[in-house]
């Protein structure tokens, strides 16, 4: 029991539950299936990106370039689908490959220079996005093929409602679930995952233990790139239009969700459960404010306050742990 009380996931879960209960009492609309199905679908994109950032934070790095990666990946997919072949498998293959390539490039530069990842990924964010905007001319892609639209509108679950429209769960949520399972498996059930935690905790020790820092760095940034590519597909599927400036600028939102979920920017800490809860906490707070009719101007105030509270709590927790150990 005391073990559970020490886990940050416990507190985030508690916060989610508390907010949930308060919101359901104040606004019955909150606890309906249709609201939750929408909420899950609308946060699939952020949820997938957050899992990638989690893996990077665990390994002791940080990435802010993934929004550019997702944009480039979805745009190249859009061009291929509209101008060449409207094959639905290509819609996933191409962004995956583009994402892995751009992620791997980040990893190589970070490893070779030894400069903090935040600086390198700010540079590659500018590089990828600037070059992309220049080449694409900022043009939108509208006429995505029928097969892509059909995929996006598929529902995996439809529940009839008495005296109303049936409620359905979008297939997109399945991709988030898939990413959750795969990321959990990598971090908890493979040696690569254990090595990533070890490297994030103490890179020097990991090096002396004989781990290849390069391979691990390459893996974490490529995996982030891959998920960014898939998240790009999700975003395009949801809006049915590819807009060059839709994604870039949201990198810090994703980072915020992962941090709220208990991951540490010092590396070596963080879990899939915490990250998912972090995304959901931010999502229900925003959703709740909308349902309660609070002006959207307050959204950022609420989000910022949550982050600051988490910052203070983790700092106090660390101090207490330090005091106990000495």
């Amino acid at each position: 029991m005391t073990q559970i009380l020490k886990k940050s996931e416990f507190y985030i879960g508690l916060a989610v539950l508390l907010f949930g209960i308060v919101l359901s009492i104040m606004e019955p609309q909150f606890l309906t299936l249709s609201n939750w199905f929408d909420l899950l679908r609308n946060n699939t994109f952020l949820g997938i990106l957050a899992l990638g950032e989690l893996v990077i934070l665990v390994s002791g790095g940080i990435d802010v370039s993934f929004t550019a990666t997702a944009t480039v990946a979805q745009y190249i997919m859009g061009i291929v689908l509209t101008k060449f072949i409207g094959n639905i498998f290509l819609a996933f293959l191409i962004p995956g490959i583009v994402g892995v390539s751009l992620g791997a490039f980040n990893a190589v530069i970070i490893y070779l220079t030894g400069v903090p990842a935040v600086v390198i990924t700010i540079a590659t964010l500018n590089l990828y996005y600037g070059l992309f905007q220049f080449l694409s001319g900022g043009e939108w892609i509208y006429n995505l093929p029928e097969s892509f639209r059909n995929m996006a509108q598929t529902n995996i679950l439809t529940i009839p409602q008495e005296g109303g429209w049936p409620v359905s769960l979008s297939i997109l949520v399945l991709f988030w679930l898939g990413a959750i399972v795969v990321t959990w498996f990598i971090l908890n059930r493979t040696t690569v995952g254990r090595k990533l935690y070890a490297m994030g905790d103490n890179q020097e020790a990991a090096k002396r233990a004989g781990f290849s820092i390069f391979k691990l760095t390459l893996f974490s940034y490529s995996y982030m790139g891959f998920l960014a590519g898939i998240a790009g597909v999700m975003q395009a599927a949801q809006t049915q239009v590819i807009q060059p400036n839709a994604i870039v600028g949201r990198e810090l939102d994703v980072l915020a969700a992962v941090i709220i979920g208990g991951a540490s920017v010092f590396g070596g800490r963080g879990s899939v459960l915490g990250t998912v809860l972090g995304v959901i906490l931010l999502a229900i707070v925003r959703n709740g404010l909308v349902l309660l009719g609070v002006s959207s101007y307050w959204h950022s105030v609420a989000t910022g306050l949550i982050i600051l509270i988490v910052v203070v709590l983790t700092a106090l927790q660390r101090r207490r742990r330090k005091a106990q150990s000495t």
């Binding site: 964010l125 600028g249 105030v301 101090r319």
Partner: protein, 325 residues
Amino acid sequence: MNTKQLISKRIENIDSNVVVLFAIFIAVFIIMAFLSGGNLLQISTLQAIGFQLPFLGLLAIAQMGPMLTGGIDLSIISISNLAGIVAAKVLVDMSGGPVILIAIVGALLTALAAGAINATAIAYMGSSPIITTLGSMIFLEGVTLVVTKGNIISGFPKAFLAIGNGAVFWIPIPLLIFLLVAVVFGVIIEKTPFGISTYMVGSNETATQYSGIDTKKVLFRTYMTSGFIAGISSLVMIARFNTAQSGTGFSYLLLTVLLCVLGGVSPNGGAGKVIGLVIAVFILQVVSSGFNLIGLSSFLAKSLWGVILIGAIFLNKYLTGEAYG
């Protein structure tokens, strides 16, 4: 000691990085002047550069202190926006009295109060700078939205607009403000005990603490200073465009980090000179103004900026045989 020795000693004292940067600036300036068919050399163009650069330049100086300590401040743009909106509110809503003075003081006090959030959490609670300032960035931006309800505030007194648009002997006032802040900040950070302890915290916080320096106080002052300079940038910004609104200038945020690194500030903290940063700001502005004159996409300039930074990091690594820090 003869003159020759003195000269060689003087040269040794100048940071090699600053020399390289200055050479890059000259090269970029000549190339852009040539490619733009001499348009870059016109007084009006140079003046425009002098009006455009100070806002970004001041924000970059605000970013420098935290980076010297090995930290980062993601909230400077939000602080600047909030301070600007407070000043704008005063200028538009108040009548009578020394309105301009109250607006300026109000903006600077707001910036200091916002900086105090970061400073307290980072210095006295030991929170990570990147997360703390991420939180305050989002929070303060939210406050600006709540205050303005997303509206633009505009229509300031003429005398106030001089801060952003006036000139003394063809030299833009905002440029003078930027250079003044750079000099004052440079003297404080490079010559005073507080400044030198800032560098020490950046190179080894634990060792600095054991040497008897109150590192918490140093960190506290660093983030307060950062907020204060962001406050100054807000005045230049709203006076230049005669408007204040939330959400302005966020594309500059990550650019300020790049400018610091290109200007020679070690990403790990502990090293870097203000003069290097100032030259880096000038390089950036000449490149983007040059691209504009030639008719090349500003996005291409943006990507070139990423390439220049990675190139500079590699160059530095292989010139010195080791990475930063």
